[in-house]
């Protein structure tokens, strides 16, 4: 049987041969292989052929292709798929790896454009704008994801990969916006809200009817009335736009038996409870459920409920920890007394407190102002419950959250500076659950990055040649130098040239300049910066490329500027094998060795950050500079194999950063993890980090961020 399709295992094996250079334990060919197993042998042969062709140009592109081609085969015929491949490889040749990979990833958009060349608009084109739009509308941040159904699980919003149902790209954008806004409104105006004591889940309520599916559709229609009215009240411009879309696609007509519901659900104080009441009233009285609005989507109740359940557990704990911290942080509250104090929460509705909800919490009558991250948390809880439930108002744990345990809380000089064996350093680690350090917990070793002879640095400089020139000029202007300023209004010495000129002027009957002094201008740039670069396994592929490119451009800029700097990579596996990779030390010049080491940066294992920060802080201690900076380039949360994750990793990293600040080091983090807002403020502080939303922008931004950070 020559035409038997290959099985997933067979496919995986074949793919592995070609894709080996970009695979790792965490990134395997299994996913593509599974997805390809259901295609015909001819299609599979087509794919395998192209994989082997593409990897000859670039392995990562091969991987991207293998991952996306199952979708492509669903959307397009073979000829069109081939066009798509040629298009993506063309982009790769002209613009490089990231745009090339993006071209593969944008397969839905490509096929959409193919069929709807003029009017359609793809998800990728609207994603960034709409995500920001929703963030501006307030409330819990919502992530946008392309999918085939339109719904929200209360943390993510799923939208179609492309829209072409209206006559122009502009109108189709409007439809995208209307969908996203409507789903936002479900989370914002409490469609999924239940009282803290209320046991019945939404799906259970629908299941109580003989035809649960019908009950849900009815409920959706009722909520649509209530939510569009909320939007009309709060965002009248948006409401007009949404209604004009609906008019274009056909008016919604409500049966006359719905007039009571229409009236009440449109009132300002209507809640989801009213919709439930009308659900039971109209379930048997209505035979026809009105058409859904064009932006309405279908609710996925299980998705909402599991997201909510998981979130509520998480947020309750987080809130109680934050509360504990807030209460203990009060100057007059002795630690321990807090548990017995009376905590009160202003329970006025979210709408009233929303933007300025700061003075809502009191301890024994004293108002407390929650920090910004806690306020965001409170708003999210409010969105779920319409209040902060009583059970949340109990500060966490009996052990104080963050205690300075005198001597123990400081690190031991002998361990920091004294190598144990040849090249090993031992560090404490902070265990937040115990509120103590674990002594001598981590072992760190320094090694050099294995240098590579590829032409990466030159390639990068060529690719970004325009930018490099621009960077050099910007940084030149920034360079501080000790220099003698001439022709000053005042100063320590007389500027003889100026005096001569001035006297000549005066003799000639002209006005005499008053700028006849010289002044010594001392440079105030006295700075040393260490860059710590994430070399964990998750940076494999284009993140690694982006990091290396960013370093190349950064070095160009810093060489012009003349600031002292060092670069280290880090990774490791378990506390016993924390690794610091030397790339450029202080005092080492930016020579070929450094360039070959930058080129040689490769992803390794995990991300244990605390120990690295402690070590580099030690390094900065011996550098005499007025301003000391520790800049992290990362792609995600702290994470190691042996339990160093979640809260634990975040808290140890935070502790290490507090130690660093204590020694006068300014920490800063540049990340490409778009989820970073959830944990970076806790670690680095509200203003000490930047999130870059697209990997391909990293190389362009790093030097720029360094500039604004230090001027």
């Amino acid at each position: 049987m020559p035409d038997r399709p290959l099985t997933a295992e067979e496919l995986e094996e074949r793919l592995e041969d070609d894709l080996d250079p970009v695979l790792s334990t965490r990134r395997t060919a299994e996913g593509p292989a599974l997805a390809l197993a259901r295609f015909t042998r001819a299609q599979q042969n087509f794919v395998l052929h192209w994989v082997s062709v593409i990897v000859k140009t670039n392995s990562e592109m091969g991987f991207q292709f293998a991952s996306q081609v199952p979708i492509a085969l669903d959307l397009m015929d073979i000829e069109e798929v081939e066009k798509w491949i040629i298009h993506a490889m063309d982009v790769y040749d002209k613009q490089g790896l990231y745009p090339g990979s993006r071209a593969f990833q944008a397969v839905e958009q490509y096929s959409c454009a193919l069929s709807e060349r003029v009017v359609g608009i793809g998800f990728e084109e609207v994603e960034v704008v709409l995500e920001r739009f929703l963030r501006g509308l307030s409330g819990r941040p919502l992530k946008l994801i392309a999918g085939d159904r339109v719904f929200t699980d209360s943390e993510r919003i799923f939208l179609p990969a492309c829209l072409a149902s209206l006559g122009s790209p502009g109108r189709n954008f409007s439809l995208y916006k209307a969908m996203a806004s409507f789903l936002w409104a479900q989370t914002r105006y409490g469609t999924f809200r239940r009282g803290a004591e209320e046991p019945t889940a939404l799906s259970a309520r629908c299941d109580a009817y003989p035809q649960p599916e019908r009950a849900q559709r009815l409920f959706e229609a009722l909520e649509a009335i209530r939510l569009t009215a909320c939007i009309e009240r709060d965002l009248s411009g948006l409401y007009r736009e949404m209604m004009s879309l609906q008019r274009e696609l056909g008016q919604i007509v409500h049966p006359s038996s719905w007039s009571g519901a229409l009236h009440r659900l449109r009132r300002r104080n209507a809640t989801v409870r009213d919709s439930f009441e009308f659900l039971s009233e109209l379930y048997s009285a209505t035979d026809q459920i009105p058409q859904p609005y064009c932006f309405q989507g279908r609710m996925q109740l299980e998705a909402v409920e599991s997201a909510m359940q998981e979130r509520q557990l998480r947020e309750k704990e987080k809130f109680r920890v934050a509360l504990k911290r807030l209460v203990d942080g009060q100057p007059d509250t002795p630690v321990g007394v807090a548990q017995r104090s009376r905590l009160e929460m202003d329970q006025r509705p979210l709408e009233v407190l929303n933007e300025q909800g700061s003075k809502v919490l009191t301890v024994d009558g004293q108002p407390l102002i929650p920090p910004a991250d806690m306020q965001a948390l409170m708003r999210s809880i409010w969105q779920d419950f319409g209040e902060i439930p009583e059970a949340y108002l109990v500060p966490a744990g009996s052990a104080p959250y963050w205690v300075d345990n005198g001597g123990e809380g400081r690190f031991r000089e002998d361990l920091v500076d004294g190598p144990r064996d040849d090249n090993a350093y031992v560090y404490n680690e902070w265990d937040y659950r115990r509120g103590h350090y674990r002594k001598d917990w981590c072992v760190l070793r320094e090694t050099d990055v294995h240098p590579s002879d590829e032409s990466f640095v030159e390639d990068t400089l060529t690719r970004y040649s325009a930018l490099v020139g621009q960077l050099r000029r910007t940084f030149e202007a920034l360079r501080g130098e000790d220099r003698l300023l001439k022709r000053q209004i005042d100063g320590s010495d007389i500027d003889l040239d100026a005096v001569v000129e001035a006297s000549a002027d005066m003799r000639a009957g002209m006005e005499m300049s008053e700028r006849i002094f010289t002044k010594f201008n001392k440079s105030e740039r006295n700075m040393a910066a260490v860059f710590m670069v994430d070399m964990s396994g998750s940076t494999k592929g284009w993140i690694n490329d982006a990091e290396r490119e960013a370093l190349v451009l950064l070095c160009e800029a810093l060489e012009v500027l003349g600031d002292r700097y060092a670069i280290y990579g880090f990774s490791g596996i378990t506390r016993k094998q924390c690794c610091l990779y030397r790339i450029k030390r202080f005092g080492e010049s930016y020579d070929n060795g450094v360039k070959r080491r930058i080129t040689g940066i490769r992803p390794h294992d995990y991300t244990r950050m605390g120990v690295i920060i402690r070590h580099l802080t030690g390094l900065l201690r011996h550098i005499d500079a007025r301003t000391k900076l520790l800049v992290t380039l990362s792609d995600g949360k702290p994470d190691d194999y042996d339990g160093y994750r979640g809260e634990y990793g975040v808290e140890d990293t935070r502790q290490a950063l507090i130690e660093a600040k204590y020694e006068g080091v300014h920490p800063f983090c540049i990340t490409i993890d778009t989820e970073a807002h959830a944990y970076l403020p806790r670690m680095y502080g509200a203003v000490n980090y930047v999130v870059i939303d697209e990997v391909r922008k990293l190389p362009l931004k790093v030097a720029d961020i360094y500039r604004s950070l230090t001027s």
């Binding site: 960034v128 704008v129 709409l130 920001r132 739009f133 963030r135 501006g136 509308l137 307030s138 941040p141 916006k177 806004s181 965002l235 009248s236 411009g237 948006l238 736009e241 933007e355 300025q356 209004i489 005042d490 007389i494 003889l496 040239d497 005096v499 001569v500 000129e501 001035a502 006297s503 000549a504 002027d505 005066m506 000639a508 002209m510 006005e511 005499m512 008053e514 006849i516 105030e524 301003t627 900076l629 300014h666 800063f668 807002h677 509200a686 203003v687 000490n688 930047v690 999130v691 939303d693 604004s708 950070l709 230090t710 001027s711």
Partner: protein, 298 residues
């Protein structure tokens, strides 16, 4: 600029010749005739209090403790100082600090006036002499040597040493030093040092609560309630974007600007775009998002 070019340069000059150069100079009498009255705030500046800041300032003033006003740009710090100067009936001398500002810009310098070198007080020395309020706006922008002259003034010595004249000014009871500082900057150089900040009573400002901000916008622009309310909501939206694409949200100042444009007939969306969105960012996608947000309200 009637400077002839090409005349001989760098010739050695007999220094005895120097006074003669200065003789008969026709330098205008700038800066010498500073009058205290120029700095008096005679009409009450409109200021809507956010909290207890007026009482706190008055208490600090009576106790001769200098004041640090913290807060993002455009939230009313300058207006507050003007209001306090009016309330306390003291002259207000404001210095907007910048990265070229040195200690001598604050204290004073010798100028060549009417053929003689003449000492001219800088704004800080002037404020000390006349017993006024001296407001150093955005102090962290100034060069670091300025802290040297501020420190002795800001503790209970209340002294201003003028190195160049050898004078030691002791501040009268009425003198008050106030500095402002924006804690939101991402620059490590723009951190206020502990040794400086710990000399001051700190008043924290943020954007006013929504209803208060609406009142301010109405009062400053003459715009009616509904539109002003929408403007304030738009500001709230941009503030939600702080850290997610915007460095800062719209300040009260920007709202007042937009409101003034609207009051003179500019359409709301155009006014918001020009006075607010474009002022906040150049990023194309951010601008689109901001314009969409604005359009969702108006």
């Amino acid at each position: 600029m009637a400077k002839a070019r090409g005349r001989p340069r760098g010739r050695l000059v007999d220094l005895a010749y120097f006074p003669a150069v200065i003789l008969n100079s026709a330098l205008p009498m700038q800066a010498t005739a500073r009058n205290t009255d120029d700095y008096m705030v005679t009409e009450e500046p409109y200021y809507a209090a956010q909290g207890q800041e007026i009482e706190l300032f008055e208490a600090a003033y009576t106790n001769r403790i200098p004041v640090l006003v913290k807060g993002p740009t455009g939230c009313g710090k300058t207006r507050f100082m003007e209001h306090m100067a009016w309330r306390l009936r003291r002259p207000l001398i404001t210095v907007s600090c910048h990265d070229d500002l040195t200690a001598s810009d604050l204290v004073g310098r010798y100028l060549i006036v009417g053929g003689e070198t003449k000492w001219v007080d800088g704004p800080l020395a002037h404020a000390v002499r006349v017993g006024g309020l001296c407001y150093l706006d955005e102090i962290v922008e100034a060069r670091k040597d300025t802290t040297v002259v501020i420190h002795p003034l800001a503790d209970d010595r209340r002294l201003l040493p003028i190195e160049k004249t050898g004078e030691l000014l002791s501040a009268p009871l009425q003198f008050c030093l106030a500095i402002s500082y924006n804690p939101g900057y991402q620059s490590v150089l723009k951190d206020l040092k502990q040794s400086t900040r710990q000399r001051f009573v700190a008043l924290e400002f943020s954007y006013p609560a929504a209803d208060l901000e609406q009142t301010i916008v109405e009062k400053e622009s003459g715009l009616s309630g509904d539109i002003a309310a929408k403007l304030v909501r738009f500001a709230g939206m941009t503030r939600n974007l702080k850290g997610s694409g915007l460095e800062e949200g719209a300040s009260t100042r920007l709202l007042v600007h937009a409101a003034k444009l609207m009051a003179s007939g500019v359409a709301p969306r155009t006014a918001c775009q020009a006075a607010i969105s474009e002022a906040l960012t150049d990023d194309a996608e951010m601008l689109t998002a901001a314009n969409e947000l604005c359009a969702s309200l108006f």
